[in-house]
Structures are given as structure tokens and as C-alpha cells.
Point group: C2
Chain length 367, copies 2
């Protein structure tokens, strides 16, 4: 968009001593993470689930909402009442923002400054997408499907509706939903209500909110969010690798109680149970390990068995620890069948998929 370079700059990384800027703070004040003590809930209460909204939350009355699907015989329009008459599915999904961990990278890519909290698990209810595609006659497996949201903005100089695509085979997986409920209630506006796409296993950018149009294109789709944003790159002129499925991660429910400003954790001496959650969107988890000496030694945590009812949700782990007085750094890491979380942060220009181990400083008080 000409003349707007002064307000809509290309991506950049922060200087070595550059604190979080006013622009990053404005995003952090809007887009909130899940306070880590909420790891205790199997299903994250709606207001605690992480949120990342590229532009504004659009305003749409459920009774007036229409999804337009560009079928081979012309556009087909679905209202929510029609979508509710399709077979209903509920899928429990752990969703994570691709930028989770960005603000811990050095140098820091300047964007939404996530630390570790951009995650949540919800029960999403709706109609399997493939049934709606069938109904509209979209059955060509060589196509890519483009999903358009109602949120509109300028990003890095490009005016756009938020738009992402999926290959036909991904879009027609049985667990991919057009969701109109979250945790048994109408989908809240900030989570994409009245209607959003749910793509279990993928980072959040694929779960298009405020969905209003689906259209087929010949691959590859070259939209901004597909080819400019959400790519793993070391240099700006690289084509880059698309961000797709969630890398493995384990998080620790912070033990004890916090200091207000530093958020340092304090515990009393004696036995306690460390606990948390672990997940991966790319393959099943095989192990969670805990270190109580800042990564010098690692020990297997007890990981709950995979729940066949909820294959796309996080799993619980526990580890017994007898806290001795003094300063400690706890750490936890998960491995899936493709391997473990990496020992050092996987840096890239966009600050995506930084899944290094979670480290938590703990002071155990004198007895």
C-alpha cells in the first residue's frame, strides 16, 4: 500500500540492548497468553486460552453470519442453522501460537512478544469440514483450499483479509472442523465466533477465525500469510520453509507461590509433586524428562497414557521432588517419535517454533 511504509514496516529484529518497544507492548496488552498455573485444567477455561488476533475482532451476529463456499457449480452459502444440521463432532485440541517463545530469542524478532504462554486446550464443536466441502461439490484432491476470515488489516504494507490455505488432503482429515462452539458454549467473539476453522495438530495460524469464505485454488496458494509470514527463514530473501505442525513441548505448572514483580517461584522444603502438560502436533509423544539441576541430569517423568478419546490434546506428567533449601533451576522437555525438544533455541527471522526446554527458577526457603 503506497505511502504507508512509514507506519507498516517490514519485519525486523531488535538490537542487542533493545527493550520491548511500545508496539510490542500494545500487542502484548491485547493478545494474552495462558497464565501457566492454568496448566492444571484438562480443558482451559475460555478466558484463559491464549489469543492472537492479527487485526481487530470483527463484529458478526450469529444469525446474520454466512459462509460462502465457491463450488464448481457456483457459490454456495451456508448459514449457522444449516451448518448445525450437519453431523456434529467435538474434538479436544491443544492449540499453540507459532510465535510462542519468540521473545526469548536473541536477537529478538520484533512482533507479538510471546514468552511461553501462547497455548490452550479446548473442546471445539462443529461440523467436519469435509462434509461441507462434499455438499458444495469441492472434491478435487489436486486443489488447495483457501480460508478467508472477516478480520481486515494492513500488515507489512499489504492490505488484506486474513487468509490461509490447506492442501486438500489436510483439509479433509476427519478431525478438521468448522467450529461454532468452544467448551460447550457459543464460540466467543475473540476466539473466532461465530465460526472458525479447527485444524488439530497445526499451529494456531491455520485455525482461521471468523471464517466467511472457502475457495479452491490450484497450488501453490501465494497469499501473504502463506508465503510472506509464517515461514522459517534465516535471511529475508529466502523462500523459507512453511510453518505447519506444532513441535513437541512440555511445560511445568510453576510450583509454590510467586513474587509479584519478578515472578520468581518460592517453595517450602520437603516433598512435592512437579506436574505439567506436554504435547506435539507432529507425532505421538514418547517421553517427558525433568531436570532439577538446570539440565545437567535428566529423569523420566510419569506421563499419562495416550488418551484415544483425545489424541490432539496435551498429556499430563508428574515427577516427585524433595526440595532442599537453596536456589534451583527446574527444567522439563518432551520427545515425540521424531525426536526431543532442541537443546538451544531454533532461531529464525520470524521467531517461529522456538520450543526449547522450559526452565523455571525456584527458591526453596529455609526450613
Amino acid at each position: 500500500m503506497e505511502g504507508l511504509e512509514r507506519i507498516s514496516l517490514p519485519g525486523r529484529v531488535a538490537g542487542p540492548d533493545e527493550g520491548i518497544g511500545a508496539d510490542e507492548l500494545a500487542l502484548a496488552a491485547r493478545n494474552h497468553g495462558m497464565p501457566l498455573e492454568a496448566l492444571r485444567y484438562d480443558v482451559t477455561p475460555a478466558g484463559l486460552h491464549y489469543l492472537l488476533i492479527h487485526y481487530d475482532i470483527p463484529y458478526g451476529l450469529p444469525e446474520e453470519w454466512r459462509l460462502e463456499v465457491d463450488g464448481p457449480r457456483g457459490p454456495v452459502s451456508f448459514d449457522l442453522g444449516t451448518l448445525r444440521r450437519f453431523p456434529v463432532e467435538t474434538v479436544r485440541v491443544t492449540m499453540e501460537c507459532a510465535g510462542n517463545g519468540r521473545a526469548r530469542l536473541r536477537p529478538r524478532p520484533v512482533s507479538q512478544p510471546w514468552l511461553l504462554e501462547a497455548v490452550g486446550t479446548a473442546d471445539w464443536t462443529g461440523v467436519p469440514l469435509r462434509l461441507v466441502l462434499d455438499e458444495a461439490g469441492l472434491t478435487d484432491p489436486t486443489t488447495e483450499l483457501v480460508f478467508t476470515g472477516a478480520d481486515h488489516g494492513l500488515e507489512r504494507g499489504v492490505e488484506q483479509d486474513y487468509e490461509r490455505s490447506l492442501p486438500f488432503a489436510e483439509a479433509t482429515r476427519p478431525e478438521v472442523l468448522l467450529a461454532y462452539e468452544m467448551n460447550g458454549l457459543p464460540l466467543p467473539p475473540q476466539h473466532g465466533g461465530p465460526l472458525r476453522l479447527i485444524v488439530p495438530g497445526w499451529y494456531g495460524m491455520a485455525h482461521v477465525k471468523w471464517l466467511r469464505r472457502i475457495r479452491p485454488v490450484e497450488p501453490p496458494f501465494d497469499g501473504f500469510q502463506q508465503t510472506v509470514a509464517y515461514r522459517l527463514r534465516q535471511e529475508p530473501d529466502e523462500e523459507g520453509v512453511p510453518v505447519t505442525r506444532i513441535q513437541p513441548r512440555a511445560l511445568l505448572e510453576p510450583p509454590g507461590f510467586p513474587d509479584f514483580m519478578s515472578r520468581t517461584r518460592l517453595v517450602r522444603p520437603g516433598p512435592l509433586t512437579l506436574r505439567g502438560r506436554a504435547w506435539s502436533g507432529r507425532s505421538p509423544l514418547v517421553r517427558v524428562e525433568v531436570s532439577t539441576d538446570d539440565g545437567t541430569t535428566w529423569h523420566d517423568a510419569a506421563l499419562t497414557p495416550e488418551d484415544s478419546a483425545h489424541p490432539w490434546a496435551w498429556r499430563s506428567w508428574t515427577f516427585p521432588w524433595t526440595a532442599p533449601p537453596g536456589d534451583h533451576v527446574l527444567a522439563v522437555r518432551a520427545s515425540d517419535t521424531s525426536g526431543p525438544q532442541p537443546p538451544s533455541p531454533p532461531w529464525n527471522l520470524g521467531g517461529f517454533a522456538n520450543n526449547t526446554a522450559h526452565r523455571v527458577s525456584v527458591i526453596c526457603l529455609p526450613s
Copy 2:
């Protein structure tokens, strides 16, 4: 708490070029504001209402929750079932964090770095506090009442449960509630569920969340949150002025659409209606004024009449504007019967009650 000065420091202000630090960012990632486009809702959807949690969200099952009230004949324990059998009241309340606007002060007090979004309006349902005080025999008007929450932490070197007091006359106002529902649903954990105090007109620090005890004391109560925190001071050794009722403020629903990173607003040329909300907790509003030339000239906005059904909630205002191409700074300010929002930020060490006018940069695109 001895030896913990290294992690639990006294309050401080940031240096002149100091960006937002890791500690402030960690608070911003947990405690979220209301995205300003949500000013469009009369009642803020629960997950969009602002949140400020001093320590961790405590975990309490509603069926096991007890409120202990220290009456003159000994402690009286109320479970939620008992509280629900008292007469039920619902009050619509606009609540704002006392620290709203803190991160816009220069120098910046280092704490939760709010810009402008720490506000929300909800329908709170529960029992009028005075009925419960009566039942427990707490009827002495010379006492002060102390409200203790279940959230526990260290703050500026002091280990504590979050605790605030109210004078008897404030606590027994008919609209002061022990609330167990928000917007018609069970009170969510992050908003103080199962039980919180609601004190219409006061800043958020008075609305004690996760309420588990009420006790009478002889005034003045000298708890940390009463005498150390939440005081207006210019110098650290001052006694300071207590923070109490919400100062007047108007906010503008940002027009047009945003740039992703700078959040600058873009509009198309032509007529549009500027709109937003205004409130005061200290006395009725008398006027809202809008400027489209960065405060050089001000014009009265149309303010909805005071709603006798919701005297503690924000009011809507509108102002017609024909946007000409170019750069603009819009501004809005409210006045109550005690006067208008101040022309420059009212600085204090804690960064409380900064209610200067809302300014919004807007670029109107060429036609």
C-alpha cells in the same frame, strides 16, 4: 522476608531510555487488557474483560469453598449454597485497574505495564454484602472490614495473602456484592471464582477476588495493599493518598482498520460515526468532548442519558466526523460533576489513576 531482596525489590521507575523489561513483559503476557474494539459491547464478554492477578489464580472447587466471617459471637462459615439462598442482586459495573495508563507515564513506574485497556463492564450477580454482615452480627459502624483473598505471594519483600479493607459505610452500600456469577454464568476462576467482592465505583484493587475471609478491625487497617501499595505518592517516604474511586475517562472505539504491528488506524474518506464509552466512579458524568485536531478544539459528543438501571456502568457516546484524506489525531475526554480529565498525565510513583485524554492517530487514505 529476609534474604529475598534480590528477587523482590522495592518499586522503582524506569530510566529515560529504558524499554519494557522482561519482568514487565511477563506480567503483560498474563494480565490482559480489553482490546479497544470491544468497547462496542454494552457488557464485555468474559474473556475480553481486563484481568490483573497479583500472584497466581488459586484453585478452589465451588462445592468446597467457604467464606469465614469473624462475627462478635465467633467465626461464621458460609458455603456457596447458603450464600445463594440470600436475596439475589445483579449489578452492571464498569471496573478499571488503578494502574490503567501507567506505561504511558514518563518516567514509567515499573509494574504491570498497562496502556489504556485495563477496563471492562460485567453483570455481577450475588448477595448484597450487608445482608451477610448482618447475619454474622457485624453491625458496628465504627469498624473497618478486611477482605482476604486466597491468592498468596511475595510482593516488595512481604509474604501475604491479598487483602484489602473498606470502611463500614462503604461496605454496606446496597450495591456492594459478594458475587458468584458474571454475565449469568458461574464466576470464572480468573475473575475471582467461586466468590469475589464487588465494590461499584472503586478501582479494581478493592474488588477482592477468591474471597475467603471477612474480619472487622479498628481503623485504620495497615495491610500492605492499603498502606504500601495503592497510594498516590511523589516520594517513597510520603504517607500518600489512598487510591479509591475511579476517575473519569472516555475511550474511543478505534475507527477503521489497523496496521498489524504499529496498530495505527486507517480509514476511508467520507462521513463516519466516532463512538466509544465514558465512565466515572466518583460522580455522574456531565459531558464527553471530542477533538479531531489533537486537542486544539473540542466539541460536545452525544452522550446517552444516564441509565437509572445501570448507574455504575459506562455510557455510550457518538460524534459524527467527515474524514478528509491525511493524518489526524483524534482525542476524547469526559467530565463528571467534579471536573474533566486532566490535560497532562497526573504522575505518581505507583503509576495510578493516569486518566489523561485518549488520543488516537488515524490516517485517512486518499479517495
